[in-house]
């Protein structure tokens, strides 16, 4: 049975047309950003250079793609339509008349829809894991850099221990189907997810301990929201049933946080060691402030520049790590539409068909490139001040 094709130009037009919600959202956000540029601080300054504009645009593009994935993708990413097996780009699906813009893969699924849905997985896990790693690294890096001495020796030794592991070996040990039968991933999740709660409680307590009314509200809210997310993620026992995570996703999440928090730790520690010699820290010490107040309210805000740059780079790096996990078939389900798994599937068959490999490859590369450009522009801006 023959499948009809549309031409290359029509494929291009079709792709551009399918992304219409993204273009609309991009136009609104970028238009507003340009209009209010002088009032937006660091974010506004990003629009001064070509690199910055490119970085913001690419990152926003993928963010909106993830948000509007349902509207953009013409087909269900898991649906197999048998006629379309290995179809070339531009093939028309006979029953609905819609076009497989980038063709079909080995299991007759629409590659375009899979690429669009893949962005959802990557854009949820990568930034979230990076934020958790940031919390863990910061909470441990601050005392290590500030106190020095024995705390620093022990924590640095542990960080170097993790860093000495080749990432791939770490993943092969931590992300296996067998390990989900053991309590290890849950124990690690229990420890890691505790850090944000500790961080925010200390943050509020050190600043507002004399304003009990305000403090009670803040701590209460932190414990409520933090505890809710904590139970949802670690014990999968969210009473409202909104937050839930599949065991294999939790496993990946924990492994990625584990692999990237020592890097954050090292950066924070270095920054703190530099900043604690400044005069305003000495002034705070003379006032008799609590060490944790100094760390969280004097040192940390002044370390934000390099940290923001590092977070941007790190989200990109986490995306690469997720791709690596997908490429080795670790953790994620084999039919999952994420880019790493798609690259693995298609790279085996490169000799026969080239087209399934290119969309996920270009998607992953462009997203990481966007983040790197953004980090570069941010670094230039923060050096200017």
């Amino acid at each position: 049975m023959g499948v009809e094709y549309v031409g290359g130009f029509q494929v291009l037009l079709g792709v551009v047309a399918r992304f219409w919600p993204v273009w609309l959202a991009l136009a609104i956000v970028l238009g507003l950003s340009f209009a209010f540029k002088p009032k937006l601080g660091l974010y506004g300054h990003l629009f001064d250079t070509g690199v910055g504009i490119a970085g913001v645009t690419i990152c926003l593009f993928w963010m909106f793609t993830a948000i509007f994935a349902q509207t953009i993708s013409p087909f269900n990413p898991l649906a197999q339509i048998f006629v379309m097996k290995d179809a070339l780009p531009g093939a028309i699906e006979p029953s609905t008349g819609k076009v497989f813009l980038f063709g079909g893969d080995r299991l007759a699924r629409d590659i375009f829809s899979r690429m669009v849905y893949g962005s959802q997985i990557v854009l949820i896990i990568a930034p979230a894991a990076t934020l958790f790693a940031l919390m863990v690294g910061t909470t441990l890096g601050l005392p290590a850099g500030y106190y020095g001495g024995r705390i620093d020796t022990v924590l640095s030794f542990l960080a170097n221990l993790v860093l000495a592991f080749p990432v791939i070996l770490l993943f092969y040990l931590l992300v296996t189907p067998g390990i989900m039968d053991t309590p290890i991933p849950y124990a690690m999740a229990g420890v890691f997810f505790l850090f944000p709660i500790i961080f925010f409680c200390t943050l509020f307590y050190t600043r507002y301990k004399h304003r009990t009314g305000l403090l009670a509200i803040q701590i209460g809210l932190t414990l409520l929201i933090g505890g809710w997310i904590y139970f949802g993620l670690v014990f999968n026992a969210d009473p409202l049933g909104i937050i839930s995570i599949r065991p294999n996703e939790l496993n990946i999440f924990v492994a990625v946080v584990f692999a990237s928090s020592p890097g954050v730790f090292r950066i924070v520690r270095g920054l703190v060691m530099d900043i604690k010699t400044r005069d305003y820290v000495a002034a705070a010490q003379t006032r008799g402030e609590n060490p944790w107040y100094i760390m969280l309210w004097e040192v940390l805000p002044n370390a934000r520049g390099p940290l923001i740059v590092d977070v941007c780079l790190r989200i990109g790096y986490t995306t690469i790590l997720l791709g690596t996990l997908g490429y080795f078939g670790l953790g994620l389900a084999p039919e999952s539409p994420d880019w790493g798994t798609a690259i693995k599937e298609s790279s085996r068959l490169l000799r026969a068909f080239v087209h399934p490999a290119l969309p996920p490859v270009i998607a992953l590369m462009s997203f990481v490139l966007g983040l790197n450009l953004l980090a570069d522009a941010l670094r230039e801006q923060s050096l200017k001040d």
């Binding site: 690199v51 030794f157 170097n160 221990l161 860093l163 000495a164 592991f165 080749p166 990432v167 791939i168 070996l169 092969y172 040990l173 931590l174 296996t176 189907p177 067998g178 390990i179 039968d181 053991t182 290890i184 990109g316 690469i320 791709g323 690596t324 490429y327 080795f328 790493g340 690259i343 693995k344 298609s346 790279s347 490169l350 000799r351 080239v354 490999a357 290119l358 490859v361 992953l364 590369m365 990481v368 490139l369 983040l371 790197n372 450009l373 570069d376």
Partner: protein
């Protein structure tokens, strides 16, 4: 200096002990042991059968005793079958009839269940193969990266600088599994000038035809990073007073760059190149799997996928050793190259 190296070596040994202990714990988790037993027996073995196999091969002994056996500080009891005769370990590795010390400290890496041979027989040829790959990657990556970095940093802010900087950002955004696919599509599928698989390199030796793609794929990810570090260090050197003096003396720009700037600008990239080795290890695994080259990375994946305990432990020992040694070399070399740094 000697004291510094001594202390670093001490930390290194401690780190290796901790890491191997962690790896040993992870590979000896109950699900992994069951998987190993099933792969050694057959799919439909009963639970008692599996249990008796595990007991017979010593997997039910105390954890630290087993770790000590692997390390070579606790004697290994030979495995005996029902009639009391000594069996070869896993049926392939011969062992003496009386208890003996046979661990890492004695130079005995154990027995691979996946490849049915001793670990040493499998691991060292694989390391050799990876060594060849690494050599070519370094031979391509380092000169190219330094050249790009120096050219970009020589005249900061020019169009060459901008272009090269964006190019190096792009390569750092391209992990091996992405660039590998792109290069294979372009050079193997469309142009057909290179071979998309390096499997023949293991058998017939390395040729330009089968080895270019793996080397290119691995080098490209590192090039961007090293080039950016070189550029930053070059930019900093070019603003120094002695460069201005040399310029005002009337020296040609090229002479200033080559004689005065280069030496000082290359100190920082040296450390970065050394610290690239851990990244290269991950790269090796991806590239070897992608291009089917039978080296260290391929062995590691096979060992991990089949829970081949001894082989996996040996692989992690080797990779941790490589990472820590390069860190040590980079610290010592940095102090050596830059006389202002004094190790305390």
């Amino acid at each position: 200096m000697i004291g510094f190296i001594g202390r670093r070596l001490g930390t290194m040994v401690l780190t290796m002990l901790c890491l191997t202990l962690v790896v040993f714990f992870m590979v000896n988790l109950e699900p992994n042991l069951r998987k190993l037993a099933i792969s050694q027996l057959d799919m439909r073995s009963s639970d008692e059968h599996i249990e008796s196999w595990l007991v017979r091969n010593g997997y039910r002994d105390n954890f630290f005793i087993r770790y000590g056996r692997w390390l070579g500080v606790v004697p290994i009891e030979p495995v005996v079958d029902e009639s009391g005769r000594v069996q070869a370990r896993f049926g392939v590795c011969p062992q003496p009839a009386e208890p003996y010390y046979g661990g890492i400290l004695q130079g005995n890496f154990g027995c691979s269940t996946k490849f049915n041979t001793t670990v040493a027989n499998k691991l060292f040829p694989a390391l050799g193969a990876t060594g060849i790959l690494m050599f070519w990657v370094m031979a391509v990556m380092v000169p190219v990266a330094l050249l790009i970095g120096v050219l970009a940093g020589m005249r900061e802010g020019t169009r060459t600088d901008r272009g090269l900087s964006v190019a190096s950002i792009t390569t750092t955004a391209t992990p091996e599994y992405v660039s590998g696919v792109i290069f294979t599509v372009i050079f193997a599928s469309w142009l057909g000038i290179f071979n998309g698989s390096a499997a023949s390199a293991t058998r017939e030796g390395v040729t330009f035809y089968n080895f270019t793609l793996p080397v290119m794929t691995m080098a490209i990810y590192g090039i961007g990073y090293i080039a950016r570090m070189t550029r930053a260090s070059m930019v900093e050197v070019m603003t120094q007073q002695y460069i201005r003096t040399a310029r005002l003396k009337g020296l040609a720009f090229n002479a200033v760059v080559i004689k005065h700037a280069l030496r000082n600008a290359l100190i920082a990239p040296f450390t970065v190149i050394m610290l690239q080795f851990p990244w290269l290890l991950t790269g090796v695994v991806i590239v070897e799997v992608m291009f089917r080259y039978q080296g260290f990375g391929y062995t590691l994946v096979e060992a991990a996928g089949n829970n081949d305990i001894d082989l996996l432990l040996a692989c992690s020992l080797v990779s941790v050793f490589v990472v820590l040694t390069t860190q040590l070399i980079s610290d010592v070399g940095y102090a050596y190259l830059n006389p202002r740094i004094r190790v305390s």
